[in-house]
């Protein structure tokens, strides 16, 4: 399948190859039953906790990112988490249906650095109640009829 801008979609094996070959990120994973999974530990700065992240990706969908350890909701102590999808809890790292991410992009060069960034702003938010990483929420553009593709993309995720 052709991706945007004439670039080829990356296959799961290619994604896995890039993840394994990347000397910066570490982690381990597999491709099974047309599904890529990758586990890594992410510490955005030496000050931060170390977070265990699970990435899962199937063709035609967006990669999903869950944090297994530590428990984000426990850390938030009852405050609603910023920039997540709920049920189940996943990080919202990019705006669906935009150039941020599409299937021609490498997970090790997009999703993973964004996990670092998300956790960095998350720990700051825990201390300050102020999300300084900016971003969008569905209600920001509720009145915009051109937003349908966005909602569709979320529904798919």
């Amino acid at each position: 399948m052709k991706g945007r801008g004439g670039r080829q979609d990356l296959t799961l094996s290619q994604q896995l190859f890039f993840l394994r070959a990347n000397p910066i990120i570490g982690g381990a994973g597999t491709v099974r039953a047309n599904r890529l999974t990758w586990q890594i530990s992410v510490q955005p700065t030496p000050l931060a906790r170390s977070y265990q992240a699970d990435i899962a990706y199937s063709p035609g969908k967006m990669p999903t990112v869950r944090i297994n350890e530590p428990d984000l909701e426990y850390l938030a102590q009852g405050r609603p988490l910023p920039h997540v999808y709920t049920n189940p809890l996943r990080l919202c790292l990019h705006l669906p249906g935009t150039e941020d991410w599409d299937s021609t992009k490498r997970i090790d060069q997009t999703i993973i650095p964004w996990i670092y960034l998300w956790i960095y702003y998350f720990e700051d938010w825990l201390g300050t109640d102020d999300w300084k990483g900016e971003g969008k929420h569905p209600e920001d553009e509720r009145e915009d009829p051109g937003n349908r593709s966005l909602r569709r993309a979320i529904a798919q995720s």
């Binding site: 990347n22 000397p23 910066i24 990120i25 570490g26 510490q43 955005p44 700065t45 030496p46 000050l47 931060a48 906790r49 850390l75 609603p80 988490l81 910023p82 920039h83 997540v84 999808y85 709920t86 919202c92 790292l93 990019h94 705006l95 669906p96 935009t98 941020d100 991410w101 090790d108 060069q109 997009t110 993973i112 650095p113 964004w114 670092y116 960034l117 998300w118 960095y120 702003y121 720990e123 700051d124 825990l126 201390g127 300050t128 300084k132 990483g133 900016e134 971003g135 969008k136 929420h137 569905p138």
Partner: protein, 400 residues
């Protein structure tokens, strides 16, 4: 040299603690006089000195004005809720014999200041000194002193609280001693040094060199902690700055000579831990009293008031125990939010927000300009690291 026995630190602990010290260093810098403020204070007191020395009053024939206290030592701390720094000056009237009454000399200095149109307007009389209020930046507190003929260390005499008697003091020798001790370099175990060498870029966001040295930062941080700890206390029993400074410099010199350290946070916490050991307990009037002596002259006990007001010594020990435990918690904090909460408790939320907010701002700026990357071991960085992946643009999204 002894290495203090405790659990071995992992490389990741050392990286974390190095960053915590660097943040505390930024707190110290934030609370300090700026270069501009310092320069303005220098010009102002230079001018005051000139004005006093041009007086025809025989008491002021060989007068010299110099900085003393925290602004001379490099340990100034912005007061809470007020913009003006205290800048302490000594007005040494070297030609005056010790027979003169303190009140007479103080009055002579005051009269000369009143002859100047501007100073007359800025002038405020305090118990032992004259204050010149420079709105917005600082005020100069000018204490008249005379030479102390009995001090072999070129000490001086300053009016006591009641302006009745002269008290020995020696700000110049004190500063020399403090500077000597501040220049002592701690010895670190090999691991820390090797890591610093291997990871020249360990500091994720470029900050300037620590010019101050560790001792000055320790004193600043402790004074700020004291200010916060006693912020809502109206009893006026908080330990005075010269006591904190004196105990810290003695403890620092002792620790640096005796121990090998893991890192800067180790130096900081062990110095604080040792401070009470430098309080003497002489027998005074048949009971055990307290002495924190000025090592640079005879007869100046900084803890004099502890022997007159029995609330003061416990006030010091209570504060010190809290400070030690708070600095240990800062050293051991894992997670930016934990550090941030500990910092707020120790130094107040305003300076904490400013310093941590600047760091988050540096990440966000790097993100916008495409300079942010992820490097092994240090994570997000705006420094150019050999092996790193850049963080591409994204927009965080979400249900909530």
């Amino acid at each position: 040299m002894n290495q203090i026995l405790r659990n071995t630190l992992t490389d990741s602990d050392i990286r974390r603690r190095t960053q915590i010290f660097s943040i505390l260093d930024e707190i110290g810098e934030d609370l300090d006089l700026t270069e501009t403020q310092f320069e303005r204070a220098r010009q102002s007191y230079g001018a005051v000195g000139d004005w006093l020395s041009e007086s025809t009053d025989s008491l002021l024939v060989s007068v010299s004005v110099y900085l003393q206290g925290s602004s001379a030592l490099g340990t100034a701390v912005k007061p809470i809720g007020r913009r003006e720094f205290d800048v302490d000056l000594i007005c040494l009237c070297a030609g005056v014999a010790s027979g003169i009454a303190p009140a007479v000399l103080k009055e002579a200095v005051g009269n000369r200041l009143k002859e100047h149109v501007t100073y007359a307007r800025l002038l405020e009389e305090k118990k032992r000194c004259w204050r010149l209020n420079y709105a917005g930046d600082f005020h100069l507190d000018l204490s008249p002193t005379i030479a102390n003929p009995f001090c072999v260390n070129r000490g001086e005499l300053v009016p006591d609280r009641t302006l009745q008697e002269w008290h020995p003091t020696n700000p110049r020798a004190y500063k020399t001693l403090f500077d000597e001790r501040a220049a002592l370099q701690p010895t670190f175990i090999g691991k820390h040094i090797a890591m610093q060498r291997d990871e020249g870029t360990v500091e994720p966001f470029p900050v300037r060199e620590t010019m101050k040295g560790i001792l000055r930062r320790i004193v600043q941080l402790l004074k700020r902690h004291r200010d916060i700890f006693y912020e809502n206390n109206t009893e006026d029993v908080a330990p005075i700055s010269v006591i904190i400074t004196t105990l810290a410099m003695q403890a620092y010199a002792y620790c640096v000579r005796q121990h090998v350290f893991e890192d800067e946070m180790d130096v900081l916490v062990e110095t604080i831990r040792m401070m009470p050991h430098f309080i003497d307990h002489p027998i005074l009037d048949g009971r055990r009293g307290y002495a924190i002596l000025n090592e640079t002259t005879h007869g100046e006990n900084f803890a004099d008031n502890w022997n007159k007001d029995e609330r003061r010594a416990p006030a010091f020990y209570t504060w010190h125990a809290q400070a030690l435990s708070d600095f240990e918690a800062l050293r051991d904090a894992v997670g930016q939010d934990r550090l941030s909460l500990n910092m707020e408790r120790s130094f107040g939320s305003v300076v904490t927000d400013r310093v941590l907010g600047n760091r988050v701002g540096a990440v966000s700026d790097g993100r916008k300009s495409g300079l942010l990357s992820v490097a092994p071991l240090i994570g997000l960085t705006t420094s150019k690291a050999a092996a790193s992946i850049s963080v591409p643009a994204n927009t965080f999204f979400g249900d909530q």
